[in-house]
Amino acid sequence: MRYISLYLIGLIFGTGISVSGMANPAKVLNFFDVAGTWDPSLAFVMGGAVIVTFLGYRFVLKRPMPMMEERFHLPTSRVIDTRLLGGSAVFGIGWGIAGFCPGGALPALGTGSLAVFIFVGAAIAGILLARTITAARTPRALTA
């Protein structure tokens, strides 16, 4: 039951990404190209997603616990440091170069497009590289 639920939730997300245009780098890059072939569609994706999540979270987070788990796993860190901002900037540069972000690319694997596999493979390499660097510098575990 738990796995059927998880599968269906993933399916809803993947369908939403597919319909919205987030899986399409041409559309994603055009959102940021205000000075060129601008396509404002992505503002509607973010707007729709954030509004629904904001309203839904107000409802579900009032409950003592989730329906199929014992507790809510919510991020506890509130630190805004160079690690957060530097990481976000590097992510943004990569997103601007490739046109894929993880949330758009993972569902897009289902189309079988080679470009998506190249991007996801490189992103996995990047994650492993960053984990190796941090593990060598500091012993504390990553929270991602």
Partner: protein, 143 residues
């Protein structure tokens, strides 16, 4: 490359993304973050940590297949950049999201919906970095 402005489709798709985020929290108590899902699959802390993310990913990958079944064609994946740029962009995305502990879904959707100042700082930073990068590639280098 021009793309058509699709406000209703994008709003509807966005609402589905939001619905998935709400259901994952309400039923399973988890933030819907693609970074966390991918990282948890590559370097899982435990076996159960791996399995819920694997099933979620299986569902995500099935999304385009459902669209194919309903509409008769896969959602468009038009890639206006070279394979070299995909590799370079992918590497930077992987490094960046590991340090920021989130991306468009985790910080952008779930974090903003929780009114997290940390997520807002992340989103403003990566949106600005993406816009500057696209401008430089298309209008400074590309001319």
């Amino acid at each position: 490359m021009e793309t058509a402005f699709t406000p209703w489709q994008s709003l509807g798709g966005g609402a589905l993304i939001g619905l998935a985020a709400v259901l994952l929290m309400g039923l399973h108590g988890r933030i819907f973050g693609a970074t966390g899902i991918l990282t948890g699959l590559i370097a899982p802390a435990s076996k159960s940590d791996f399995s819920w993310r694997a099933v979620l990913l299986l569902g995500m990958v099935s999304g385009p297949l459902l669209v194919l079944a309903i509409s008769g064609s896969f959602p468009a994946v038009d890639v206006p950049v070279s394979n070299l740029m995909l590799v370079l962009g992918g590497l930077l995305v992987g490094v960046g999201v590991t340090f920021s502990a989130g991306c468009t879904s985790g910080h952008g959707v779930c974090g903003l919906a929780r009114l997290s100042p940390r997520s807002l700082a992340s989103v403003l930073t990566f949106m600005a970095a993406t816009a500057v990068t696209v401008y430089i590639i298309r209008h400074v280098i590309g001319g």
